[in-house]
Every structure is written in structure tokens, then in C-alpha cells.
Amino acid sequence: MTSPDLPVRFGGGPPRLTPGELQSVVFPRAPLGRRGFDEDRVRAFLHQVERELAQILAEKAALADETARLRRHLAEGAAGAVTALPAEDAHIQAVRVLSQAQQTADRYVEDAERYSRELAQEARRHRDEILADARARAALVLEEAHQQATGAAAAIASSGEPLPAGERRDLEREIAYLRTFSGVYRSHLKSYLEALLRNVEEWERSEHDAAAAVRAEPPTAGS
């Protein structure tokens, strides 16, 4: 005999009624002298069914509320922005991160280019100054040589030596001038050019090192 007041307990709450128990419920006969089932047991069982129904209805209402809440949440999200869907959200996040990384890279490239531009402009200014200086020095060297040679020629002219015809004297004066001029001019120019050459050699060495550095860049895919 199966007793209806011995349902399996599940969870921590009051004993719950199962459909199987309803099917297999058996009431004891009424005590002697009375007909039918034991009234008290039937009443107790009906009471249990009522409680069960009330609890089921309450749970159903709570679930309906929860469903409505989730539906609402979903609808709000979809209408609001693309960020509502988790996958889309992650993609946009990735795009943002990559955009920021690209902007950082762009800034580095820009900085490097600006630095290189400023260096080049500086070098160009230096070069122009050196050239202007060289021209000024050359003019100075010429002028000095010219003066010394003029002096030398004048010395010959004023020397008391007996001189042949005026033509010859002029010629000698001219030769003395040119000799002195070229001597002075050459020695000045030689020392200046040697200094310049040393400069150029130094410059070429650093240039060569820089070129070697460029060449040593790691190869890029597809090159």
C-alpha cells in the first residue's frame, strides 16, 4: 500500500506532489460503521494539492515576469546601439584598439620624419654657410696674393738696377707679380683645401655608416 502522505522530499521546501504520486494515491477505507474513504486523509490530501497548485501558479507568474524582463532588455539593446550584441561589441572593441595602435604608429613615423627633416635642413644650412665662408676666404686669398704681388712688382720697379728698355722692365714686373701671386695663392688654397678634404672624408665615413645601417634593416614579408 502506498501512502499519499509519504511523498519524496526534494529541495529544502515543503514536500512537493508529483504526477506519479497522484496516479498511485490510495486512501484507506473509512473506519467501521462509515462508508467510503477516510475523510480526514482525503481532506489532508486535497489541502496538499491546493498548496501545490498555489505554488505552481506563483512560480509560473515569476517566470513570466522574468521572461518579459529579458525580452524588454533584449529589445532595448537592439534598438539602442550595435554594441548590444556581444560579438559585434567585441569586433568594435578590436577595431578601436587597432585604430589607437595605428595612431600611435603614425605619430612615431611623423616624429621620425620631422626629426629627419630638421636634421637635413640643419645640414643644408651648414653647407650653405661653409660654402659662403669658402667663397669669402677665396676672395680674401686672392686679394692678399694680389697685394703681395703688387708689392713685389713695385720693389723691382724701384730697385736701382740698371734696366733695359721700358718694355722689358714692364715684363719683368709682370713676371714678378705673377710668380708671387701664384705662390701665395697656392699655399693658402692648399691648406684650405686640405682642411676641407678632411671634413669631406669624415662626412663620407658617417654617411657610409648610416647607409650600412639602412641596409641592415630586417627584410619584410613579400620583399
Binding site: V82, L98, S99, R127, A211, G222
Partner: protein, 371 residues
């Protein structure tokens, strides 16, 4: 496809400026990471180019006769970057994602349809042109540097030989990729008429801070490899013209005009050619020696050099090229070809027009954007 709707929506998005292109490329690379390698590290210039091209395409979307040739050239130009058919849908997806993102609530199915069909058309025209081109030309030419002449600290004449014939018309240019500066292409004019040994000369001037010109002008060595794109440009000789020719070259703008000069010299009876070569200072007249030699050998050629920023003391003309050319006489019977910095070219063309040279007889090209 509703052209006005397309233009309006693009106008709305384009107001966000650089952010649009930034989003587009990031979206493209997140979806297709392998495409990142096809672009340079710094992308600022790339983004400007993308927005300019999109703007041009959208503004002409209802003017196909103008749009199609532009798209065809764009398709051919992209071959050297390694762009193939499979890349077009990937780009299209990111373009639509970008528009959708920036249009927000204004994005709808109709717009999606408009943009989808517009992009499909653009991609088809570009890809078809690239396909046709691939039947005739390689995507790029590999070339080897075989000669380097440093004419000044910042001006170099390079001689290169491509790995297969590269037919071009004198006056045209090619995009050049320098060693150590991958994915950065700069246009340089061929400085000679085509030769039987296929060699090509380039005149390179270092632009301060320019990543590519610096390498080409100072670091390239004999044996180095260059990559060259297909020849482009319309600064070419009007071979049917019976008129005499005026060439005005500012600095390395000489390159295409020297090629044209050589082409003229190959004619049985060359017309008279007056070449003006100008620079700021005398030491920047980097090719004058060769030009004078040619003038001495060629009775049809006259070369005049001019410097603007220093007193040449009678050795050359003194002044800016537009002034020097304008005061030299009556050019109304000449065909004029101009190349050099934008100001010089613009002002020379202006002076010639005022001197009575018809606009149709003045052909020109400027440089200055490329570094």
C-alpha cells in the same frame, strides 16, 4: 541605386574626416589580418588618399563617362600593390561596416542596398580593368640599379635596368619602390627616350625628411633592386605638330622634358627646340654639362640656363623661369611643355597664355607632393 541618397550619406560620414578612414582600415585588418602587410607602417597618407578617392567616386557616381576611366586607372594602379580579385569583397565589407557605424540610426536597408550596388559596380570596373591590364603588363617590374651619379649632395641620377621590357612614351613616369622603404611608392619620370638596352635614368632630388627620396638620392648602391609600376602620365610629345618646341624645366622637372627632347632628336628633321633649365642656385643646375654638350652637337637645340637666388654674373640668365621665358620673346608659334615645382609651372603657363600661346598647346606636369 539612388545617387543623391548615396552622396548625402557619404557627405554625412565624410564630416568625421580621418576617423572614417581610420575605422575602415582597422576594420579591414581585424577581419583580414593578412592584408596589413600590404600597407606601409605609417598610414596617414594612405588614409588621405582613400578619402580623396572615395570622395571623387561618390561625387561622380551619376556621371559614369567621367567615373569609369578614373576607376579603370585606379584598378590598374592597384595591381602593383598586390591587389587581386579576392580582396575586393573584403574591402567592400569593411566599407559598408564603416558607413553603418558612422551613420548609426540613419543606416537602413535602402542605404545598404544603394552602397552595395554602388560598390559592386566600382569593384567590377576596377577589377575588369586590372584583369585586362594583366593580359599585357606584369603587376610590376623588378629593376636593378646599374649606375649612380651624385651630381650634388641632394641630387642623384640613377640608371636602372628592368627585368623585362618596359615600354613607355617619353614624358611618362612610373611609381618606384625603393629598397628598405617597402610599400611606399613615389612617382619618377623616365629621363630618357626608350633605349635598345632598356636602361632607364631617373633624376632624384632629396626632399628634406622624405623617407623615399632620401634613400634614392643618398643610400642606394649599384646592384640594389627597385620595383617599378606601369608607366603613366600624359605629358607626352604631340608628334603630329609641325610647330617648334619650348621646354621649360625647373630643377629635376628636367627629367621628362629631357626624354621628350631625345624623342624629338630621333626625328629625321627635328623642329627647333628651345630648352630652359632653371634652379635657385648655379650648383643645382645638375645636368647642364650634358645639356650643353647635346646642344653643341644638335643644331636644332638651344639650351638656356637660369638661376633665381644668386647673381650668376653673366654665366646664366638671372631670374625666375616664368620671367626669363616670358622676356625671351614671342612663343605664340610654339608647343610648350612645362615641368617643375607647382608655382613655377602655374606661373609659366599663365605667362605663356597671356603671350598668346593657345591653352591646348601647353602641356605640363608638376611635382612636389611626393617625398
Amino acid at each position: 541605386m539612388d545617387a543623391q541618397r548615396l552622396k548625402d550619406s557619404f557627405g554625412q560620414v565624410a564630416r568625421q574626416g580621418d576617423a572614417v578612414a581610420l575605422f575602415f582600415y582597422a576594420d579591414l585588418f581585424v577581419r583580414n589580418p593578412h592584408l596589413r602587410d600590404m600597407f606601409p607602417v605609417g598610414m596617414s597618407a594612405q588614409r588621405d588618399r582613400l578619402l580623396a578617392a572615395l570622395g571623387r567616386i561618390v561625387s561622380h557616381v551619376d556621371d559614369l563617362p567621367a567615373l569609369v576611366p578614373f576607376l579603370q586607372q585606379l584598378g590598374r594602379d592597384h595591381r602593383k600593390f598586390g591587389i587581386v580579385a579576392e580582396h575586393y569583397p573584403q574591402v567592400g565589407a569593411s566599407l559598408l561596416a564603416t558607413l553603418r557605424y558612422f551613420l548609426g540610426e540613419d543606416w537602413n536597408d535602402d542605404l545598404a542596398e544603394d552602397w552595395n550596388s554602388a560598390y559592386s559596380l566600382v569593384a567590377k570596373v576596377m577589377n575588369d580593368a586590372a584583369d585586362d591590364d594583366s593580359l599585357v603588363w606584369p603587376a610590376w617590374w623588378n629593376a636593378q640599379v646599374i649606375g649612380i651619379e651624385r651630381r650634388r649632395f641632394d641630387i642623384t641620377v640613377l640608371r636602372a635596368v628592368p627585368d623585362r621590357p618596359l615600354p613607355y612614351r617619353p614624358g611618362q613616369s612610373v611609381a618606384v619602390e625603393a629598397p628598405g622603404r617597402l610599400r611606399q611608392w613615389r612617382y619618377y619620370s623616365m629621363a630618357n627616350a626608350p633605349r635598345s638596352d632598356q636602361t632607364i635614368d631617373f633624376h632624384v632630388r632629396l626632399i628634406d625628411g622624405g623617407p623615399v627620396s632620401t634613400v634614392l638620392a643618398r643610400n642606394v648602391q649599384v646592384g640594389d633592386r627597385l620595383r617599378l609600376g606601369a608607366p603613366v602620365g600624359s605629358l607626352t610629345l604631340d608628334a603630329d605638330s609641325p610647330r617648334d618646341v619650348l621646354l621649360v624645366a625647373g630643377s629635376t622637372g628636367l627629367a621628362p622634358l629631357k626624354a621628350i627632347m631625345e624623342e624629338i632628336g630621333q626625328r629625321p628633321v627635328p623642329p627647333r627646340v628651345r630648352l630652359y633649365f632653371g634652379a635657385r642656385t648655379a650648383d643645382a643646375l645638375y645636368d647642364l654639362e650634358d645639356l650643353r654638350k647635346r646642344a653643341a652637337e644638335s643644331p636644332w637645340l638651344t639650351v638656356t640656363a637660369a638661376v633665381s637666388d644668386e647673381d650668376p654674373g653673366g654665366a646664366f640668365e638671372h631670374g625666375l623661369l616664368p620671367d626669363v621665358v616670358a622676356r625671351a620673346g614671342n612663343w605664340s608659334g610654339h608647343d610648350a611643355y612645362l615641368c617643375g615645382p607647382p608655382d613655377m609651372v602655374e606661373q609659366t603657363a599663365d605667362r605663356l597664355l597671356r603671350l598668346g600661346v593657345p591653352g591646348g598647346r601647353i602641356r605640363f606636369e608638376t611635382f612636389g607632393g611626393d617625398r
